[in-house]
């Protein structure tokens, strides 16, 4: 899989945050496909190729899932729990990107097996920097787990 084929799944319900995150990736020269899920259920549908994403059955899993914690229907921690509970996505890299830096959220996130926890800064310049580092790290530096079998 070439670097440009790598897909990032962004799970974020706030359209402003989606726009800004996409903008930040663009400005960091991350040209990869960024799929966006607007709630927890949609995120799981994407990962497990269900419902509207049934056609993805043959496609590889995203390189990294960027997960907000406050989401409609199923919250971020619920999504993470479902990812870790399924054999297919057990090793899926997940980065929590959220407003909260509450100890409780940090502990829950890491206990459920998050690979990283990044807090969204209010200052967009800082946010840009954070997204840039995330992109470089997960797309270029980090080695993904070996290709997993999909149903």
């Amino acid at each position: 899989m070439s670097e440009s084929n790598k897909v990032i799944l962004l799970v974020e319900d706030n359209p402003d945050d989606v726009t800004l995150t996409l903008r930040a990736f663009k400005r960091s020269h991350v040209m990869n496909t960024i799929a966006v899920a607007r709630d927890g259920i949609e995120a799981l549908d994407f990962l497990f190729a269900r419902g509207a994403y049934a056609s993805r059955a043959k496609d590889p899993l995203p390189t990294v899932v960027i997960l907000d914690l406050k989401l409609p229907k199923l919250d971020g921690l619920g999504v993470l729990r479902a990812i870790r509970a399924d054999e297919r996505t057990r090793l899926q890299p997940v980065v929590i990107l959220t407003s909260s830096k509450e100890e409780e959220d940090l502990i829950s996130g890491y206990s459920l097996g998050a690979n990283s926890y990044v807090r969204k800064p209010v200052d967009f310049t800082e946010f840009l920097e954070a997204v840039k580092v995330l992109g470089i790290y997960w797309l270029m530096m980090n080695e993904s787990p070996p290709e997993r079998k999909r149903l």
Binding site: N14, L20, E102, F124
Partner: protein
């Protein structure tokens, strides 16, 4: 029955017993005296009877006129003596009657004796002699019986004296036994009704003092101690009720507090989202359309960004304040000097560098939560650092002192200080005593500091003068030894 009533009863019983014994002794004494009197009289009677017997005998033998006169004299004395009924007990009245009769009869018979039988004829003599011999033996027999009866009367009196004495002994023994019994019974009653309940009450006060609010004395007696224990039980009952009420209120308060915390937490997070959008899209405008905007428009966009960022910081600090409130306390001995030294070192490394002279007393320890005390010291020392920014030779002194037997620590600076008139506003959230253009900051630092010391059941106060610096004194609850 009340203890005072019991006490009065016991005293009365003892007094009545003593009075009874005294009365018995007096009565027995009188009895003995009376019996002695009677014995003396009966002895007199016996002596009189013996005397009459002697003179009668003499008269029978010699027929002297003197003996006859003596017999008459003694007989009349005896009759006088015996005429008194009180001489004997009613039970012996019969004997007395018998004696009277015998004495009278004896005297009459003596009177019948012929004064001088020698003057009579022989025939007469013979019959007189026979008659007199018969008479004499009758008299002597009567008199012997009388003496025997008199002895019997004496014996009765003696017997009466002995009986009275025996009775006195019995009464004294019985009385002493009663007093001893009263004493022992009183002691037992005092132990059972007074000392034992008092011991239970004392035990109860100790239990309640130790926090066992459910302990009941439950002394059922109707006396003063029963009243006391019932009052004690009702007191602990009301205490328990008020305590339960307080506990309920506390729980409600805690629930309410938690709700407020949860609310402020979620509001703070939700507020950050729009701020991010404001800042992000302002920057997007500047970046994408910067060439089409004039300087004023760019300045406005910059102001929007600055304001958003500032509000973001305010929210972060509010969250910090709420975290300080919610954090669990983990109390241990903390080296304050070391914490201060580390904070001073990190402040010294800030850019641009400043030459603040740190004067940190060695070996200050406090009993506190290490993480929270660190936050408090960070805020206090950052303030000292900040407000000495315009001072010629900035100096910050961290030390401790003993005031009213309590240890107080302090952070003193020689910075701008402030007017003590505003001191009451110092520790309120978002309260500032200086313009932000002069000294940056959100105004929440001291609110966090105060909350930290409050959580430690400690206190913080400030002393300052404009231009001369400020000193913050704080104390923490000392651990119980």
């Amino acid at each position: 029955m009340k203890i005072s009533t019991k006490g009065r009863l016991a005293t009365t019983t003892a007094l009545v017993t003593i009075a009874l014994i005294a009365a018995m002794i007096l009565w027995a004494n009188k009895e003995v005296e009376d019996a002695n009197n009677k014995r003396r009289q009966t002895t007199q009677l016996t002596r009189g009877l013996t005397e009459v017997r002697l003179v009668t005998f003499e008269y029978i033998l010699h027929r002297h006129e003197r003996a006859r006169q003596q017999e008459q004299e003694v007989s009349s004395r005896l009759q006088r003596l015996i005429a008194d009924d009180t001489l004997v007990e009613p039970a012996q009245r019969e004997i007395l009657e018998d004696l009277r009769e015998r004495i009278a009869t004896t005297h009459r018979l003596v009177e019948e004796l012929v004064p001088n039988p020698e003057t009579r004829s022989d025939e007469d003599k013979e019959s007189i002699r026979r008659f007199e011999a018969q008479l004499s033996s009758q008299i002597l027999m009567l008199q012997q019986d009388s003496v025997a009866n008199a002895f019997r009367l004496t014996d009765f009196s003696t017997e009466r004296i002995n009986a009275a004495q025996r009775r006195v002994e019995t009464v004294i023994l019985f009385g002493l036994g009663l007093i001893a019994l009263t004493t022992v019974g009183g002691a037992w009653l005092i132990n059972r009704n007074v000392l034992a309940p008092i011991h239970r009450l004392e035990q109860a006060t100790r239990e309640v003092a130790a926090g066992n609010w459910h302990y009941k004395v439950d002394v059922g007696s109707k006396d003063e101690i029963g009243d006391l224990s019932r009052n004690f039980d009702s007191m602990t009952h009301s205490l328990r009720m008020s305590f339960a009420q307080i506990e309920r209120s506390n729980q409600e308060l805690a629930a309410l507090n938690q709700e407020i915390e949860a609310f402020s937490y979620s509001v703070s997070h939700d507020l950050r989202g729009p701020l991010r959008s404001m800042d992000g899209f302002s920057l997007a405008l500047l970046e994408d359309y910067g060439d089409k905007l004039d300087d004023e428009a760019k300045d406005s966009l910059q102001r929007i960004r600055a304001a958003s960022q500032r509000m973001g910081r305010l929210i972060d600090e509010l969250l910090g304040l709420s975290r300080v409130t919610r954090a669990e306390l983990n109390l241990k001995v903390v080296n304050l000097s070391q914490i201060a030294r580390e904070i001073a070192d990190s402040l010294d490394q800030q850019q641009p560098p400043r030459a603040v002279k740190w004067d940190i007393e060695e070996g200050i320890t406090v009993h506190a939560d290490s993480a929270l005390i660190q936050i408090a010291m960070q805020n206090l020392m950052e303030n000292a650092w900040k407000f000495t920014g315009k001072t010629e030779q900035p100096r910050v002194h961290i030390g401790s002192l003993q005031a009213d037997g309590k240890k107080e620590c302090f952070v003193a600076d020689n910075g701008v200080g402030f007017d003590m008139a505003y001191a009451d506003r110092l520790f309120g959230a978002f309260q500032r005593l200086h313009h932000e253009s002069e000294f940056s900051g959100t105004g929440i630092g001291l609110a966090i500091v105060q909350r930290i010391f409050r959580r430690h059941e400690g206190a913080i106060r400030a002393q300052a003068k404009p231009g001369l610096g400020a000193t913050f004194f704080f104390s923490l609850k000392e651990p119980n030894r």
